[in-house]
Amino acid sequence: MLAKQLTVFIENRTGRLCEVLNVLKQNKVNILSLSLADTTEYGLLRLIVDQPALGKEKLTENGFSSLLSEVSIIKIPHKAGSLQELLKAIEEGGVNIEYMYGLSIEDDEAYVVLKASDAAKIEEIFADYEITTVSSEHLHGLN
């Protein structure tokens, strides 16, 4: 299962990130996980939110360059070594990970968000190894 990720292009300028968050706040879009990566000139804010479509619409209305793309949200046990085991499976399947970030919600479970170089193939790997993936809505339900 693939989940929706909301990505926002942000110039490196004081207050710009706050402006993005303000748009989300005003439209009651809740952030479940985020990753902010940057170069000297600009950054990409990647978000898992409870209402991705609404978030994108409102950001576009407010002049932000944003995009919905598909990523995998994978449920793993909240214990040492579980992320390594997941990556080993993906590596054996020959798929490259473009980026990854994580969140842990409950005592015994954690989630990682990752973008694979090959979306179809990673689904096969997940099926073969019986790895559980969830939707961003599902994630929201856990809160």
Partner: protein, 432 residues
């Protein structure tokens, strides 16, 4: 449709007419305009020396500076009583340049614009919305009278209040848009923001664009926003010569036909002033051969183009000038390389993910010039590799075309300044 029979005169007859008119004009200005007499005397040329069109090159040039030096009416060839209208350039640097029209001048102006409107696909069935600023600027009133003369319905909406412009387009079923290319793009953006699709919800079929360069890339960008079926023709003019109506593109889209029975074109090397043969690129010089108010002789337009005399499929015999590729005074000197902003624009518009709005910033870093290009991202991405590819593509293309390295700065949509008239895209901070 061809508006008047003069447009198809055989070249021989046309040249005979041009010579008669040139001789008459030169005699008249020599007799009536003191600064001209002084210039011609200094150059050792008398009106009688003009025996053929080739003798034109004996006459001295006139520049914008000459108009400023004689501000406001020094180059006028008629008494104040004969004038019926005054226009002036914006005069962003120093005094404006002032031009005056007699009744006959206004008739010719209307005639010239009627021709270029028909050339560009307009007809009496059109509803023409004029999104040029009305006032001292010649653009709006020139197109206004010319289009009205061919029987189109005029919507004199001027510039600004873009939401209202879109409302007029919807409610009046505007079929023809008069605007600068950049404002036409801005209007499409505003329409989309209002939930109006310029292609489906509006009836604009023709765009007569002018007062700004129309590059091929800009034309493509306009098609992207306004639909591939929009007929876009550019037209050319300047207040010093008359206003719009000096030349216009016909529907064959192969350059702008110059109204040669009123305007005599030459191409010169901007550095030496030497006349270049047909087909070579250089600065356009125009002589007004049938003007009463202010008949400029060998006026240096500063616009860079070339002329083609081969017959056009449309049937007109008037020569064509290529769409402008720059202005000799817009030309930037960066690390010793001559750069026209239009060259940079071509590169930017060739990259799919980039929007049409950009800014060129020039700075001095020690003894070296540094060029930064800010450009809006039109399509978003979730990957740095895409952003890097965009920047690298622009940099590489600029390096190939100009031999210069530039820093490319991607910015969010709608963050760069928008312009309703001529776009000012270059910020030269090198001497500050």
């Amino acid at each position: 449709m061809i508006w008047s029979k003069e447009e198809t005169l055989p070249r021989e007859e046309l040249e005979k007419l041009q010579l008669e008119r040139l001789q008459e004009t030169v005699h008249r200005v020599y007799a009536k305009v003191a600064p001209y007499r002084a210039k011609m005397d200094a150059a050792g040329v008398k009106p009688e020396d003009i025996q053929s069109l080739a003798d034109l090159k004996k006459l001295p040039f006139v520049t914008k500076q000459d108009m400023r030096d004689t501000y406001p009416f020094g180059l006028f060839a008629v008494d104040r009583d004969e004038l019926v209208r005054i226009h002036a350039s914006s005069g962003t640097t120093g005094k404006p340049t002032v031009v005056g029209y007699t009744k006959k001048d206004l008739e010719i102006w209307t005639e010239c614009v009627s021709r270029i409107a028909c050339m560009g696909g307009a007809s009496s069935h059109d509803v023409a919305q004029i999104c040029f600023g009305y006032g001292m600027f010649t653009g709006a009133l020139g197109l206004h009278y010319g289009l009205e003369n061919i029987g189109a319905v005029i919507v004199p909406s001027s510039t600004g209040n873009s939401e209202k412009q879109i409302m007029y387009m919807q409610d009046f079923e505007t079929s023809l848009l008069v605007a600068t290319p950049s404002y036409a793009l801005r209007l499409a953006e505003v329409a989309r923001e209002m939930g109006v699709d310029p292609i489906k919800d509006l009836k604009v079929k023709i765009a007569l664009v002018g007062s700004e360069m129309l590059t091929d890339a800009m034309r493509e960008e306009m098609h992207k926003y306004w639909g591939k079926d929009l007929l876009i023709t550019s037209n050319y003019g300047m207040s010093e010569l008359m206003g719009p109506g000096v030349s216009g593109e016909c529907t064959e889209l192969c350059g702008m036909h110059i109204n040669e029975d009123y305007f005599l074109p030459e191409i010169i090397d901007p550095a030496t002033g030497e006349v270049l043969p047909a087909g070579e690129k250089g600065e356009l010089v125009i002589t007004c051969i049938k003007k009463e108010g202010i008949p400029l002789i060998r006026y240096r337009t500063k616009d860079i183009t070339r002329l083609f005399y081969e017959p056009c499929k449309c049937g007109r015999t008037f020569c064509r000038m290529e769409n402008l590729s720059g202005r000799s005074d817009d030309m930037l000197k960066i690390r010793g390389v001559n750069v026209f902003p239009s060259q940079i624009e071509e590169v930017i518009l060739g990259v799919e993910e980039l929007g049409p709005h950009y800014e060129i910033i020039l700075e001095r870093d020690g003894y070296l010039d540094k060029m930064t290009i800010k450009v809006e991202l039109a399509q978003s991405t979730d990957s740095f590799s895409v952003l890097e590819r965009i920047s690298t593509t622009v940099r590489n293309k600029l390096r190939v075309i100009l031999g210069l390295d530039a820093k490319v700065l991607l910015v969010s949509p709608n963050t760069l300044q928008r312009f309703e008239g001529k776009a000012k895209r270059v910020k030269d901070l090198r001497n500050k």
